[in-house]
Structures are given as structure tokens and as C-alpha cells.
Symmetry: C2
């Protein structure tokens, strides 16, 4: 007998079918038992008047008759005839998958990740994540960006800073890539528009709700821009495309979290960092020290301001100080102490960072010298600027932070299948 997928049952009313899936709940009345079965397309209730044995978590095959049932979610239930346990649970699950919420501490949720992921509400996070990956890919291709895959093992920890993981590479040392930055710039010289979806590794000793040490970065880089406004406009367009596509297909994920896909404004509001700091102080009485970047509370308040002022969930903060940005960031023509760089805030959390990059060889070398960065080991990157790099820029975007904000998750670790932090290397 051929397997019928659960979303197809409605086309088999009053027929006998075979379904396969996992038991998500078992309830019993005096003479009747209800066994909820999930496959990769849906969920259906099977009804049993005969004696059966199945428990939550079992993988089963059910033969039964499909009956219309207007009260049921898919409009059908199955009157069970035979139940075969394909694979049994040989121990009790450490928690109840049939409860609407798991209500576990984050540490427990992650310790038991291979099993807690089976909970229907937790599953929804990663159905939405799947949709996010699909949507970024689709939006980028619509704008003719070419997908690239660049190496994650590097010879030199070349972007500067101490946040690299070091590894043994045969008889040498090597480093894990913090970002595909140099490679995507190189590839602008080849294809003009490129994007990459891949892991980024940051050896930052953080314990926060918004940092992990390995994440999936949504990168892009584009050439022949007029200024970094073109980069922001493109990111704006990509987000609108992505979120539009997600809105069409994410109903179940969102319902489970009482969430909505936000509307992306036609033009996301922009404000200079120096200005938003002033506003935050004046309006919300919160002071960000002048010498520091905007802090998490500052970002939250910037997001609040964008919502109050423009009814926007998004805000570009621009013109970060030259001293805080990497050496390849284009300084502002009128005020070289500031850069043509931006962060994108979504509901009070930074989800993307971007800028125009320096594309002139001499200017780049000078800027590196000013920042005391040695060109040693970076020749392969620096050389491209001798051979005509058009004005270009791009962004890196944290895929998991988008999901965190969209669903209102307390920690980014909930939005990652198997997160990595200072103490967590397994599962």
C-alpha cells in the first residue's frame, strides 16, 4: 500500500489509506483512543475503538479510513484499523511533547536539543528559518546577484582584532573566517554583484542573548554604486522582497508565536549616529557615552524612536566613527572622522552592518597605515585595487537575529538549531 501524506488526506475521504509519522499525543476516553500523528506535511488525529498500544514519540504506520470532520484542522480524521510501530520509544521522553509549550529553561532546552526540537512550537522556528533562507536566496537572485561560496579556513587573521579561532592546518596555523569580506570584494571585481550564505566564526567571549560564536551570515556586495545610499536602498529592497515572500508562506509559524511579518517601509528611515544619540538622551533620558558605539539599550531606544516617529520597525543608523569601523570602510568625504557605514536596526536590535568600501589602492594603503594594520599576508586582497575596482559596498546580515526579532525570542540561541557559545560545544 502506498503512503499517503497527511496534507493529501482530504482527497481520500472514505478511502482506506496508509500514513506514516510520529505520535505527538495520545488521549483516551472509556472506549475510544485518539492518537495524533505528524508527518512532514501535516498533523492528523486517528481514532481507535480497538485496543492499541502507542505512546508519544513513537514512529508509526497507520492504516485507516479517512473521514470528514469539519471540527478538525485539516477537515479530516482517520478511523484507525491497524497501527504498526515502525520504531518505538524505548525510554520516556524527558518532557511532554503534547503540551502547547515546553516551558524549559534555555539551558535545558539546549541540553536536550535533539529532542526539544521535536516539539511542534519549536519546530515552527526552524520552518520559518528555512523560509528565511529560501527568501533571501530568491530576493538576491531577482536582483541578479550571483551566489558564491568562499573558504572558511584562512591563512591570516587578516581583518584585525583578536576575535579569530585558530586551528592547526597540517604543519601550519590557520584561522576561521570571521566574514567573507575580502572574498566578496574580490568577487565584485569579477561579477559585480555577489551574495553568500555561510557560517561566520567569532571568538568573542560574550554571554549575551544576542551573540553566539558561530552564526549564518547573509552577505552581499555590489559594484558601481554612487554612494552608500545605493547599498542601503538595495538592502531595503531585498528585505521587502524577503519579508513579502515570507509573509505568503509563514502563517503557521507566526500563529504559534502570535507574531507578524513586519511591513518594510518603501524607504527605511535613516539617521546619523551622532544625532540618534542626542535624541535618545533628550527624549528618553538615556545617555550613551560619547566614546562608545551605541549599546543594546541605545539600540532598543533607537528602534522605539523609529516606531514612534515613522511607524517603522526598521532604522538605518549611519556615519559611524572612522575609529570604530574596519580599515576598508570608506570615510565620509565631508567629515573623514565619520564613515559611509551603516547599521540596520530591526525592532531595536542591530541585524545588519554595511558600508561603502574604499576602492582606491592608495587611499586604502593610507587608511591601513593610519590604523596601524600591516599589509603582510593580505597582498592577494590589496592587489585587486591596482586593477580597477569600481566603487562598491555591501552588507553582512545575521540570519538568526532576524528570526529572533520576528518571533520575539528571548535569546538568539533559540533561533539556532545547535548554538555555539563559550561553554556550549555540544550537541
Amino acid at each position: 500500500m502506498e503512503r499517503t501524506l497527511i496534507d493529501q488526506l482530504k482527497n481520500h475521504i472514505n478511502e482506506e489509506v496508509l500514513i506514516k509519522g510520529r505520535v505527538m499525543n495520545v488521549r483516551g476516553l472509556s472506549n475510544v483512543k485518539f492518537v495524533l500523528v505528524q508527518d512532514y506535511k501535516g498533523l492528523v488525529q486517528t481514532v481507535w475503538e480497538t485496543e492499541i498500544f502507542a505512546r508519544i514519540g513513537d514512529a508509526v504506520e497507520v492504516i485507516g479510513e479517512v473521514r470528514e470532520d469539519k471540527r478538525a484542522k485539516g477537515g479530516v480524521e482517520i478511523f484507525g484499523k491497524e497501527l504498526k510501530i515502525t520504531a518505538p520509544s524505548i525510554e520516556d521522553l524527558p518532557f511532554d511533547l503534547s503540551k502547547p509549550d515546553l516551558n524549559l529553561q534555555l539551558a535545558t532546552l539546549l541540553d536536550y536539543r535533539p529532542l526539544s526540537l521535536r516539539h511542534p512550537k519549536v519546530q515552527q522556528i526552524f520552518r520559518l528559518y528555512d523560509l528565511l533562507l529560501e527568501s533571501y536566496d530568491k530576493a538576491m537572485r531577482e536582483e541578479c546577484f550571483i551566489e558564491i561560496k568562499t573558504p572558511k579556513i584562512l591563512e591570516a587573521a587578516s581583518e584585525g582584532g583578536a576575535n579569530f579561532f585558530k586551528l592547526e592546518y597540517f604543519d601550519k596555523n590557520a584561522y576561521l573566517a570571521q566574514s567573507p569580506q575580502f572574498f566578496k570584494q574580490i568577487m565584485v571585481g569579477v561579477f559585480e554583484r555577489v551574495f553568500e550564505i555561510g557560517p561566520a566564526f567569532r571568538a568573542e567571549p560574550h554571554f549575551t542573548t544576542r551573540h553566539v560564536n558561530e552564526y549564518i551570515s547573509l552577505d552581499a556586495e555590489m559594484g558601481f554604486i554612487d554612494d552608500f545610499g545605493d547599498v542601503m536602498a538595495m538592502l531595503n529592497k531585498i528585505l521587502a522582497g524577503m519579508f513579502g515572500h515570507m509573509r505568503e508562506k509563514s502563517q503557521n509559524c507566526l500563529e504559534a508565536y502570535g507574531a507578524e511579518i513586519p511591513k518594510v517601509p518603501e524607504k527605511i528611515p535613516q539617521i546619523k549616529l551622532a544625532q540618534i544619540k542626542k535624541i535618545i538622551k533628550e527624549k528618553y533620558n538615556y545617555e550613551i557615552p560619547e566614546t562608545t558605539d551605541i549599546d543594546p539599550e541605545g539600540e532598543r531606544l533607537a528602534g522605539r524612536w523609529a516606531k514612534e516617529e515613522f511607524n517603522s520597525d526598521f532604522l538605518f543608523i549611519t556615519h559611524y566613527p572612522w575609529s570604530d569601523r574596519p580599515f576598508y570602510t570608506m570615510p565620509d568625504k565631508d567629515n573623514p572622522a565619520e564613515t559611509c557605514g551603516f547599521d540596520l536596526i530591526y525592532k531595536g536590535l542591530e541585524i545588519a552592518t554595511g558600508s561603502q568600501r574604499i576602492n582606491d589602492y592608495k587611499m586604502l594603503m593610507e587608511n591601513m597605515a593610519k590604523k596601524n594594520i600591516s599589509p603582510d599576508g593580505m597582498e592577494y586582497y590589496l592587489d585587486i585595487f591596482k586593477y580597477a575596482m569600481p566603487p562598491h559596498g555591501g552588507w553582512g546580515m545575521g540570519s538568526e537575529r532576524i528570526i529572533q526579532q520576528m518571533l520575539g525570542l528571548k535569546s538568539i540561541k533559540e533561533a539556532i538549531l545547535f548554538p555555539r557559545d563559550m561553554k556550549r560545544l555540544s550537541p
Copy 2:
């Protein structure tokens, strides 16, 4: 003036337009110069009767009038009026981008990778690769596989073997993932069908035309299979979908290499390893030692046999010995010395490996004991089998090897933007 993309010029005949791109060739006659310009959508010849200065490699903006020219590839050329060098080449390129072939040694090609990638014929490899990524994604989604991203930093080098890269992870050691094997199996318990596109790291001290130390693996895993025939049937279907999609869109890439997208048979022929070894010996007089896996020459001859016998570019070789396959591979019921595992050969090169996995906890533990593998550090993986894992299986496929075979490239390194081998960590 708004930029016009080169593929849109045909809609602007006799109009003045602005194009932006890179100079790919400059030729001069007595009174006229021809400057070939490439942007991310196409290539066009600009014709100059005035004095201009531009050289190969420059990034330029051209204003001129579009003229119909039936002899030209896009049906148009541009009669140039103004040429602005957006970014100049400040040194001569180390090779001539205007030649139909670069004709460089592999080492030179890779040493100068950021620039050699700009050559039109080299570009085509990575346009095809972009299409491959898109096509795998599309084919997997059509079969309702959910895309996952799993960690590349692991606590334990748990799949066994010595081919792991070790790294410093804060105060601990960690390892780079050889494959997403355990995670994709875990995720079968959650979503039944999952796929991943991501880097795999192998510390193999190889110097061959078919190995690198970092590659992009196209992974899949599916549940509720009857046997590993279901896995092969799915891979067969995915390949047909992928290659079909690639065929529609890859004309330019293929023309450059005189290549074709092969037809995927409705049912790819299958043969047991023991049998094909015999055939290779009898038919081609080449002996593979009984104790070894099939070697590269053996694979080549197996591919030749499939072509001669079935007119197929593909061949599944099945039933690899238990001793050669990882501990999670399902042994054959009738002959436990063999496994329910397969390799997929494409034009004489292995491009994918797969199998049914053991899904019974007790059997898995016994199999590990027989292979002298300790369960320490693997509990998170082994535990899922206590909680009902359905029969399942999957594959890992080398994305770059597909491109190598499709285009007939001599080395896999030509199919990777920035390949990594024992000696090559940069660019």
C-alpha cells in the same frame, strides 16, 4: 543619466544610454577603436571615432548611442560619445583577459585567483556553479526537504578517523565538522526530510585532482524509507530535477567548454561493488585488489562500463563492505559483511556517497562496539535512537566535483573559487 544594463540595450536602439562595466578588450584600426565592455548582464562592443584612452581591465562608464548590428552577439553595438574611467588599472594585468583561453599552469591560475577569475571563460565556471546551487535548492524544496544549517565547530572528532582539523575554542579543543552527518540524522527525527548546503572540512593529506581540504557538500537525509533503494531513487529524482533546471539556463557556460548537461536516466543503473570489480577485471583487464575500495582508475572504468552498457553517464555502485563504511551504516540483512550503502559515479568519478543508516539503538551500539568506537561524547546523537528514529538514509554530494565533471576540468581546484589544499591557504 540612469544606467542601462547591457542586456537591455536592444530596447534602446538609436537612443543615447549610459553603461557601466569593465573593459575586456581594446582593439584599434587606423581611425576607429573598439572597446569591449562587460557588466553583470552582458558584453557589448563600443565603437570610437574620437581619441580615447582606456585599457583592458579598467572600470568605465560609457555614454553613447545604441546601434543595431546584426553581426554582434547581442544584436547591438554602442557608438561611443564619452568615456569616463571610474577606476583605472594602475598596473598591467599579469595576463591577457582578451585571449579566448588563459592557458596558465594550475598553480599560476590559483596564485593569481582574484584576477584570473575575471577571465570570461573562468567566470563561466562560477556562473554554472551559481546555477548548481540554485538548482539543488530548488529540487530539494520541490520534494519538501527543509533546509537546515548545522554547526561546523564540534566538541569531538566523533565520526572516527584522523581526518579532522583541530582548533582552539576558548579554553578547550574543538574540531571542524567533516560532515553534518549526526545533525542531519537528528533532524530527520524532527522534520523527516532535511537538506543542507555547507562547508565540509577534511584534513586529508592528499595531492590529487579530485580532493581538496574544504568543499561544499550537498547533504540530504530522509525518513520512513523502505530500504536504501528509496534513497537512491530520491537522489536520482533530485539529479534529474537539478540537471533539467541547469540545462535551461546554462547555455553560455556550456558553450565556452564545449560541454553538455547530461541526461539523467529515469533509473540510474545499479551494480554491486563486488560485481563491478569482476567486470572491470574481465572486460578491461584492470585488477582492483580485493581488500581495497574501488580506486580512481576503477571508478573511471566503471563509468566507461555504464556508458557502454546502458548509455548512462551515471552509475550507482552498491553494497560496499561493512569494514570500509562508517559505524552508522546499515549492514545488509542477508550478508552483514556488506552494507546498504552506495556511491554515485558520474562520468567515472564518485560524486556522492550515501546509505541507509542504522536506526535501532541496540544494533547501533553493537555495531560501534564491533568497530571499537567509544560512545563517549556522542551521547547527544546516540540518545535520539532511544526515542523512535524511523528507518532513514541520505547522501552527501560534492558540489564541485559535479562542475568538474560537467565541464571536463582537469582538477577540482578549477571548480572552486579559492581552493584549499595542504599547501594552499591563500588567497
